[in-house]
């Protein structure tokens, strides 16, 4: 694999960003992950993953409008970039190759 390395947790976060579409921000991503993975997920860890993804160029972000429900604070909304999508596809392909090799060991 080329370029940047993507950790397992980062991969999950990146996938969640796609799943949530326009509504992806720290808490919603954490909640989604909690439901899907049944793990303990802390906000601080999710944010670190998001900032790292942004530094690597796999997501971009912008500040959203303030809402009443969160003490008047703004949200930072995250969106996947093309590089992020490519990365996920690449990972998926590599995995597929391995699975294929396991199912057909003769190859």
């Amino acid at each position: 694999m080329g370029r940047s390395y993507l950790g397992e947790f980062e991969e999950l976060v990146l996938l969640t960003v796609i799943v949530l579409g326009a509504g992806a921000y720290g808490l919603s991503i954490a909640e989604e992950l909690r439901q899907r993975t049944n793990r303990t997920i802390s906000l601080s860890a999710v944010h670190i993953a998001l900032y790292r993804l942004e530094e690597k160029g796999f997501v971009t972000s912008q500040m959203g409008g303030a809402t009443l429900s969160r003490g008047g604070r703004k949200k930072r909304l995250f969106m996947i970039t093309t590089a992020g999508r490519n990365m996920l596809t690449e990972i998926q392909e590599i995995r597929n190759q391995f699975w294929y090799a396991i199912v057909n060991p003769a190859q």
Binding site: Y25, A30, S42, L43, I48, M63, G71
Partner: protein, 885 residues
């Protein structure tokens, strides 16, 4: 109808979160935290939600956030608001570093004396640090390079008599016994070393050399790794009369010729053929022999050694244990040697143990060079020196800071950030430290040969060979820069711009004046203690060399007599007596006092049934002995010339120890000393038979030509060089097969005090360094005070104070400090030198002058240090001092 209270997160947790969260991320993160909390309240109730909130807050203590949080602290808040997401201004950007360097260079050039003092102080401290580290590193690295070092052991002996004595040497047959009896032993080799006289009779000029030799078994080169340049380790020493020598010796003996196959003669008796050349020995091994001889030859050259009953100090046994052997079990198993090879009585006396190779250098019980505790003490001294150097630097830097407060104020007003000011000071310190460091390295290289000579070590400063040294140097550099740079950096960068600009900084803002005073006191207390010690040891050393030992020791030359036959001796005597500069000739076993060749033996007096409880020093000489050394008789007469033992002279102590009341009574009595009977014909007045450390021992003198291994010549002082030259020529003519060496008796006696001489040199050195460092500390303190009292001096001068009273203003303070230091140093110094002197049976008396001298010297140095600075301050025109507002 109660109004539902709004649920809030725990206040403590919220504060914690605020503390941990980087300011630029605060907005979004707090929003998420709050939203999460509200969600949890609905889902699980308020209590659970509060708990989760706390847990989440704690989890923000991750390096990712902390790093940004700290970066945020170092940069001003106003700026970050406008800043783009994540970006924090870096005080270490290239442009800033360039600026720091420019400013630092200007400061250094501008304050020349300040720079000079700092560089000197630091360089001294650092070079001490480097030297001490390389010394410690050298000692720790001994014999570590052998591939099997962890499985190599040396056999040690314990002799259980009235007391237990321990030796690193063993009886010779133990090697074979180990090989035959113990399955856990993989390889064994004896190492038996002697001094050797090497000659080459086949060559026309027959050159002679003095080099140590060692007999080793072929396995020796499998146990320890000394690589061969030529020849084969497997069979180099398997044949009798073969030898392996080092590259260095091969060059010395044969210049550029091929050494292999050549032969040499040992001690004019046995020929050996060279079968192998070793690479030169590394510096860090305790095995220093450079000629290895095949083991079977020892039967020929030293047949008497093969006994279980005696232990020659040069006989060592090295073994290699099989892999996986438990050394403590092996050690226990060796108890069976005592029972198997000794009779029941001796089995209780002789015990043998294993000593790991790594222990040999560090264990002083078995003659190791230096103990770990001593290395530790040395490291502490090194640490102390480096730290004091840093503290002095801090002192000077903060004192100077007052003068630079305006600069800092202006910088702050112009928008300098705290981080930038901090780094500026670090860069300044870094430059000064770097200069000092370069000096320190130069100084270390210059002083290393002296250190090696003084401590008889072979330390090298080779940064390419030993990776530890550059690593240490780099760490030292970084640590010193940060210790000495960060305090001034933090304090100065924290100044309030307004107070700094007004020049109204007070002591409390600079901080720690009393700590600084304490430090100066401590430094001077150490200097004074060292001075007291130095003065006392110097005095005792002068006493050692000048006090009357009870015999004459001036202008007496000692020569060795390699062949002791009576005919040879009388031939030598006849020829030496004819030399014009020689006044007297005597043949003897040892001079009245000597650090070596002392032979202690049993005595049985006048028909008493058993040997006396004490032993007696046995010396031989001809009748010239008494007049040669100016010894007096208190009773009886001198010896009559003879080649065998017939008559004895005793000294007064011997008579006293025999329990005889007056010297007259022993005259004419029979005595048996060292198994030989004789008649006591005279009693000598007591003289010192050893150093002043020890009491006078019982001594006897008798005639026995076979024991006369030395020849003493009384020479006249006129034409000494010519006389010495003709003595050498004569000696070489009479002993063509041997190497000439001579010694003056008084120099020979100096060997008693070699260690004291070394201690004295070290004391001088450390006292010098301590005084220098404490004067630097003092200078820092006085500069600080002068800077503070500028106004006060101005006011005093306008009101009519003279220079003297102003100098006294400072002098008073320092007189206090010195007296306090002295009150601490005097009892410690007294206690230490008292312990030192108690080691001498004959010593100088402690007196008050020593202490007054120590105080006086420190006062003198303090006056020089303080005087210059305070006179300079006192001479300032008060107008300038007062106008500075």
């Amino acid at each position: 109808m109660k109004k539902k209270r709004q649920a809030t997160p725990p206040r403590f947790a919220h504060r914690l979160f605020r503390l941990l969260c980087p300011p630029e991320l605060f907005e979004e993160l707090e929003g998420d935290m709050q939203e999460q909390f509200e969600l949890d309240v609905n889902r699980a109730g308020e209590a659970a939600a509060r708990k989760t909130y706390l847990l989440e807050a704690v989890k923000f203590a991750k390096p990712y956030y902390l790093k940004r949080r700290i970066a945020g602290l170092l940069t001003s808040r106003r700026k970050t608001k406008k800043k783009v997401h994540y970006y924090s201004p870096k005080p270490l950007s290239t442009a800033m570093i360039k600026n720091y360097l420019t400013v630092a260079r200007r400061t250094i050039v501008r304050y020349k004396s300040y720079t000079l003092i700092n560089v000197l102080g630091l360089a001294l401290g650092l070079s001490c640090g480097i030297l001490i580290f390389s010394l410690v590193n050298y000692h720790l690295g001994f014999d570590k390079f052998h591939a099997n070092a962890d499985r190599v052991y040396r056999i040690t002996s314990e002799l259980h008599n009235e007391t237990v004595s321990k030796y690193g040497s063993v009886p010779q047959p133990i090697g074979a016994a180990m090989r035959d009896d113990y399955p856990f032993v993989e390889k064994v080799s004896m190492l038996i070393s002697f001094g050797g006289n090497i000659s080459f009779p086949s060559r026309r000029d027959n050159p002679k050399f003095d080099d140590g030799v060692a007999y080793v078994e072929p396995d020796f080169f499998h146990i320890l790794d000394f690589p061969f340049l030529a020849g084969n380790p497997e069979d180099a020493l398997s044949q009798p009369n073969s030898a392996v020598i080092t590259e260095r010796l091969a060059e010395k003996y044969f210049k550029k010729d091929q050494a292999i196959g050549k032969s040499f003669r040992l001690d004019n008796k046995t020929d050996f053929t060279i079968t192998g050349i070793l690479k030169n020995l590394p510096e860090n091994t305790d095995i220093r022999q450079e000629i290895y001889l095949s083991y079977p030859s020892i039967k020929q050259t030293t047949p008497w050694l093969n006994t279980w009953g005696g232990i020659l100090s040069a006989t060592q046994a090295y073994i290699l244990l099989k892999p996986g052997t438990d050394a403590s079990k092996a050690d226990e198993a060796m108890a069976s040697i005592s029972t198997k090879y000794y009779d029941a009585k001796d089995a209780k006396t002789f015990k043998f143990h294993l000593q790991p190779l790594s222990d040999i250098h560090m264990n002083q019980e078995f003659g190791g060079a230096i103990a770990k505790s001593q290395l530790f003490a040395l490291s502490l001294i090194g640490l102390f020196l480096v730290i004091t150097a840093c503290v002095n630097f801090i002192n000077l830097a903060t004192a100077q800071a007052l003068g630079r407060s305006k600069e800092i104020g202006v910088r702050k007003v112009m928008g300098s950030m705290k981080g930038q000011l901090f780094w500026q000071f670090i860069v300044e310190t870094g430059l000064i430290t770097l200069i000092a460091f370069i000096f320190a390295i130069g100084l270390s290289y210059l002083t290393l040969p002296f250190m090696n000579e003084m401590l008889s070590t072979r330390v090298t400063l080779d940064w390419l060979k030993d990776i530890n040294q550059p690593i240490f140097a780099a760490c030292l550099l970084v640590v010193v820069i940060f210790i000495s740079g960060s305090y001034p950096g933090l304090v100065l960068a924290g100044f309030q711009p307004i107070t700094a600009l007004k020049g109204k900084l007070t002591q409390s803002q600079i901080g720690g004046f009393s700590i600084r005073k304490g430090l100066v006191i401590a430094q001077f207390a150490i200097s004074q203690t060292l001075l007291i010690g130095t003065i006392v040891i110097t005095g005792q050393m002068r006493f050692n060399t000048q006090a009357d030992m009870g015999f004459k020791k001036d202008a007496i030359v000692l020569l060795s007599v390699p062949e002791t036959s009576p005919a040879k001796q009388s031939a030598m005597r006849a020829r030496f007596s004819q030399l014009p500069g020689v006044e007297k000739v005597a043949f003897l076993s040892a001079p009245p006092a000597s650090p070596e060749n002392n032979f202690d033996t049993g005595i049985r007096y006048a028909g008493r049934p058993e040997n006396e409880k004490f032993t007696i020093f046995y010396k031989t000489g001809d009748p010239e002995y008494l007049s040669m050394f100016g010894l007096k008789l208190v009773a009886g007469r001198n010896l009559v010339p003879s080649d065998t033992t017939r008559e004895y002279l005793l000294n007064e102590t011997a008579v006293e120890k025999l329990g005889v009341k007056s010297p007259q009574e022993v005259i004419g009595k029979n005595v048996n000393i060292n198994g030989r009977n004789g008649i006591i014909v005279g009693v000598m007045k007591d003289f010192h038979s050893k150093s002043f450390r020890e009491k006078i021992d019982p001594v006897c003198l008798t005639t026995r030509a076979a024991d006369n291994a030395q020849c003493a010549l009384k020479v006249s002082n006129r034409n000494l060089a010519a006389t010495l030259a003709s003595i050498q020529k004569l000696w070489n003519e009479t002993n063509p097969d041997y190497i000439y060496s001579y010694q003056f008796l008084d120099e020979h006696l100096q060997h008693f005090y070699e260690l004291d001489q070394l201690i004295l040199q070290l004391m001088w050195l450390f006292a010098g360094i301590a005084i220098f460092i404490s004067s630097l500390g003092l200078y820092g303190l006085i500069s600080f005070m002068v800077a503070q009292k500028t106004k006060e001096i101005g006011v005093r001068k306008t009101l009519g104070a003279g220079v003297g009273s102003i100098v006294w203003l400072f002098g008073r303070q320092f007189a206090h400090l010195l007296v306090i230091a002295f009150v601490i140093a005097a009892p410690i110094g007294w206690w230490l030198v008292d312990k030192y002197l108690a080691d001498f049976q004959y010593h100088i008396e402690l007196n008050l002058t020593t202490f007054i001298a120590a105080l006086g010297i420190t006062f003198l140095i303090a006056i020089l240090t303080v005087g210059y600075r305070s006179v300079k301050a006192a001479l300032i025109n008060p107008v300038n001092a007062l106008r500075s507002e």
